[in-house]
Amino acid sequence: MSDLTEFTLAEARDAVATKKVSSKELTQGFVTAIEEARALNAFITETPEIALKMADASDARIAAGTARPLEGLPLGIKDLYCTKGVRTTAGSKILENYVPQYESTVSQNLWDNGAVMLGKLNLDEFAMGSSNETSAYGNCISPWRAKGSTTALVPGGSSGGSSAAVAARLCLGATATDTGGSIRTPAAVTGTTGIKPTYGRCSRWGIVAFASSLDQAGPIAKTVRDTAILLKAMASVDDKDSTSVNLPVPDYEAGIEGGVKGLRIGIPKEYRVEGTDPEIAAVWEKGAEWLKAQGAEIVEVSLPHTKYALPTYYIVAPAEASSNLARYDGVRFGHRAANPKDLIDLYERSRAEGFGAEVRRRILIGTYVLSAGYYDAYYLRAQKLRTLIKRDFEEAYKQCDMLLTPATPSPAFAIGEKIADPVTMYLYDVFTVTVNLAGLPALVVPAGLNTAGLPLGLQLIGKAFDEATLFRAGRALEIAADLKAKPQNWWRA
């Protein structure tokens, strides 16, 4: 292969393990590709020196016969994961100069598996957004363009740097996080694959917190196999996160070719949402036919509280964010306002100067719904709705093994198109937020292109801790879709 960046993670793993390619050559290929792709603004911080040093260490291990499962494979890390000695911004000005003195558990797991770090990827500020347009470090731009157009499109969000970097072949895979769709939305609009695992599957320790009862780490990669390989390495029980679950992590990759014969796939009727792009509705139907043709049984199911998921989310997530973000006070770390006249002034100005518009808005909403006199009307009611939403899934899973749904209501939109009105942007997550509220795993796979040549994704929602079956069904969709299109290298400097 002439261009090593075209490898899938699995192909690169096999090439490195059999010494056809060194990690150094592979890593250098990505370092160069990243330098040439600065127009996409996918990385907030590039770490080529660290990458090449890690690659050398990997090559030494391969030579010594002590290679680990991801030995020498270059990855990108969402800039929400704390990386020891490497600036971690969370996409916010408030953490502009923050250099963690510890490593997040998930990224440590990847390094312990031999992976190589290429740098820190762009994201919406504190992961609050669906288009990567709230980042204090500028918009990340999708490598995809509509046919005959040069309009800049969003890469999805909040993990926009992760999806753009994978789609543009700037890394073999990337870490991401998902609070309301932040792995799945970017994957869907960039023709990449991403999984939000069950809540508790990955440790949240060392990942900058947004909404702790919804946040979950997961990978974005080129294929279902690559995503399965990465999740296996990322997942673990962790003493430092009491919500991480002590269940064995299966070898997801080993089972992906198992097929869907005999699986019952539910089609939730409430996901036929008005305003959904007709081409997405069509690919959803096609997806069901593909699974049926491979031996699955398709059943219609009902999730009656679906329409309440988004408003529930926009109470719960800001409430948790307002408490999590209380730690940014200008005292212990982060931005500090100059010449404060007293302690309150220090707090108020450090936070106002450091946080962007969307983050400020969510902190105020969260503070309001948790404040005395309003807690029961908003937050308590939302938590009760959450119970009802979870029950919907439990009822549906009496009739089926997983659900097939669209991932986004439309393909990638233009930068600037939705950012002016918060609620319009929030509605883009209509198919993804329910899963976070119920703590369930969901996988997004590319399923086709629209007439403008832009990728469309489908979402599979599974039972708790049944990621293995999701990967099997995702692989079946991938085989049927047989998508070979990649974005053209217009960005190359």
């Binding site: 408003p311 707090y347 808005r361 009802l388």
Partner: protein, 95 residues
């Protein structure tokens, strides 16, 4: 329910977020847009429904009550703006 300007000022104060006076009204409108939209939750009968307290059912983990962390004081101070030695520095609070 909607918020008025006074409420916006009050919650900004609670959140320790400086809000310039000219930003109060636009923020009030943005918040009311979001609050009007979440209002639809009122139509659901939640009588007798327990609020969710944990997404994944599991017993809260317990650990032995022993010290596991070593001294990280130097590392903790590296990112402290205006920190001195092993002290976080704030404006004077006691007259």
């Amino acid at each position: 329910m909607s918020v008025d300007k006074e409420t916006v000022r009050r919650i900004a104060r609670l959140a320790r977020l400086k809000l310039e006076e000219e930003r109060v009204e636009p923020m009030m409108e943005e918040l009311n847009g979001i609050l009007a939209w979440v209002e639809q939750l009122k139509e659901v009968d939640v009588e007798g429904v327990p609020p969710m307290t944990s997404v994944v059912e599991q017993r809260l983990k317990m650990r032995d009550d022993v010290v596991t962390e070593t001294d990280h004081a130097d590392a903790l101070m590296i990112n402290a703006p205006g920190g001195e030695d092993h002290f976080f520095v704030v404006p004077k609070v006691v007259e």
